[in-house]
Amino acid sequence: MTHRSDRSLHVAALSRVEGEGAMRVRVDGGRVTDVQLEIYEPPRFFEGLLRGRGHLEAPDITARVCGICPVAYQMSACQAVEDACGVVVDGPLADLRELLYCGEWISSHALHIYLLHAPDFLGYDGVVPMARDHRSTVERGLALKKAGNAILELLGGRAIHPVNVRVGGFYRTPTRPELAPLRETLQRALDDALATVAWVAGFDFPDFTHEHELLALVAPGGYPMVRGTPTTDRGLTFPVRAFEEYIGEEQVPHSTALHARLAGRGRYLTGPAARYTLSHERLSPAARQAAAAAGLGPDCRNPFRSIVVRAVETVHAVDEALRLLAGYEPPPRPAVPVPPPGRPVTGYGATEAPRGVLFHRYTLDAAGTITAARIVPPTSQNQAAITDDLRRFVTDRLHLDDHRLTHACEAAIRAYDPCISCATHFLDLTVERRTP
């Protein structure tokens, strides 16, 4: 029976996403009445356990929120603590931070494109069966991922939870000859990244678009990564320090989950499609060219096509890393000292994690002890929009049988590259279960 008017779909454990979640869809009388992303990933209380820790510990502790994007946490944490202490890190140290971040973008995007998302387009359960039929393509993806990890390992000491990042800069900065081997690795990665764009551009994308407001950082000098001003495609812009005034939680009618909203405006999306829409003109020339060849227009409103944007951003990150390598001059010292502030202070930081804007706020006492912390990860911000899209997506596909519809929904969720590990500790993802 494919045309029953009352149906209940349930994916008990979403696969090929970061972290653990479930999805529930309820159809009553042929109408989708409820869509829920259930997060059953256990809470870890980061904002609670940060209190009482030292200001210099924030990057290492918050990196442990997410093993996929630890650099994003380190960068937003450093920026927020430095802001609190009135320290500015610029010049070659800022360039090195961006180089490290490029490594994470390359690695994380390659992971999502090849291992998590592409199998949906080609009809496989995962990368291992896909590799049986597409060995050289999968090997290209793994090589690309490895190139990103090569940056993280050389500059950060290791790919997951790099050890060389500190508030103020690094423990040790590399010499030019130490960085030199990366050039060849990245030259090859550039070819692989360009081939990736051409490959994913040929996928068959479901016909689906959304009208959500898109939020990303916008930086005057280039495509946003380590810094920028929160901006939307509808002209809203506000300073990082005002983030919590503009992003609030609202309780949604007919839903029991609290969701992040733009105050007075509603749901929105952050992430690669938002960055691309707001800043595609600031992509590197090779990335811009690849985007045009892939048929990406001035915006991207089909979530399934975000795989193409991720591929284009990978080209950009490789290109940017090559540019930073070419211009690298070792800084005079590995880090700017960031002593305790001597009085109570609050600082704010926001950077572009691979999955979107990652906001941190810390309040420190005079000795630098953290007295309050707030972290707003991208997936929490996106949840309201994802749920809304799912509702429409299901409504358009009620003719599918349960198995195919469930499969389609799961693939749709993966298109947003949700990071449930990141989102879990955060207020907005509290799922309030309805008691029968």
Binding site: L14, R16, R44, E47, G48, R64, G67, P70, Y171, F426
Partner: protein, 250 residues
């Protein structure tokens, strides 16, 4: 007729996904591993789930909720060899800081409606609930240790997991001793080897993410750290971060 491949399962509890990502980070070996074992349950990598029993289960994360207590028992029942991977699974992880705090108060800081959060007062290692066959330390684990362990298990031998301190690895790597040369506080003398002594090679004192080495003399190290100017507050933080469920003497 080929023999059936051993079944590998990967499970996640309270964690960051980083340790299981280490398996996907074996870019050069991943497809070879997948040719040798059947990846029967690995949600981060595959939608296909093969029912147990499993020959080897890798378990990431600490046990922090009532339902996870039941789940780890089911994982144990279905697994011939259970390997706890990473600081969360072997020593509670950073979230084990709750063991020394009021969890209800933690929840009220993070969640507007803490009554909807179902959680235990403690974040404990897997071995607190079920017998564990092997433990891989680290936050995150070292992927060479992971590969060596999988290879050893497939070959039916015990993996070679050192229990000595990070100091041995600094010597092997030729890294000058940071506390001696620069007066940099370092947990290397009491921390288990396995990472390759990365931090000191980057001019940073070891921060103990592999947990305590065999019979660590933490009291002696604490005295040495005080002489280097480490305050009591800093000392407490140094000894209680990513392996927070493990108690050591200072």
């Amino acid at each position: 007729m080929t023999a059936e491949k051993p079944k590998l399962a990967v499970w996640k509890f309270a964690s960051c996904d980083g340790c299981q990502l280490s398996l996907l980070d074996c870019e050069d070996e991943l497809l070879a591993v997948a040719g040798t074992v059947e990846i029967a349950h690995f949600l981060e990598a595959s939608s296909a789930v093969v029912a147990g029993p499993y020959d080897v289960s890798l378990v990431e994360g600490s046990v922090t909720t009532p339902s996870d207590v039941r789940r780890i028992q089911r994982v144990r029942e279905q697994s011939r060899v259970l390997v706890a991977i990473g600081a969360c699974a072997t020593a509670g992880g950073i979230q084990a800081l709750r063991n020394y705090a009021d969890v209800a108060e933690f929840a009220s800081v993070v969640y507007a409606r803490p009554e909807y959060i179902s959680t235990l007062d403690t974040a404990l290692p897997v071995s607190s609930y079920v017998p564990v066959d092997l433990e891989l330390r680290g936050c995150p684990i070292d992927r060479r240790q992971l590969l060596d362990t999988l290879t050893a298990l497939l070959a039916g031998r015990r993996p070679n997991l050192p229990t000595h301190s990070v100091c041995f690895e600094c010597k092997a790597r030729g890294t000058p001793c940071l506390p001696v040369v620069r007066g940099t506080p370092c947990l290397g003398p009491v921390t288990q080897a396995g990472c390759g002594a990365i931090c000191p090679a980057y001019g940073r004192g070891c921060y103990g993410c592999f947990g305590p080495a065999d019979r660590p003399n933490t009291a002696a190290l604490a005295a040495g750290l005080r002489e280097l100017g480490v305050s009591e507050t800093e000392l407490g933080r140094m000894f209680r971060t990513f392996n927070a469920a493990v108690e050591v003497a200072t």
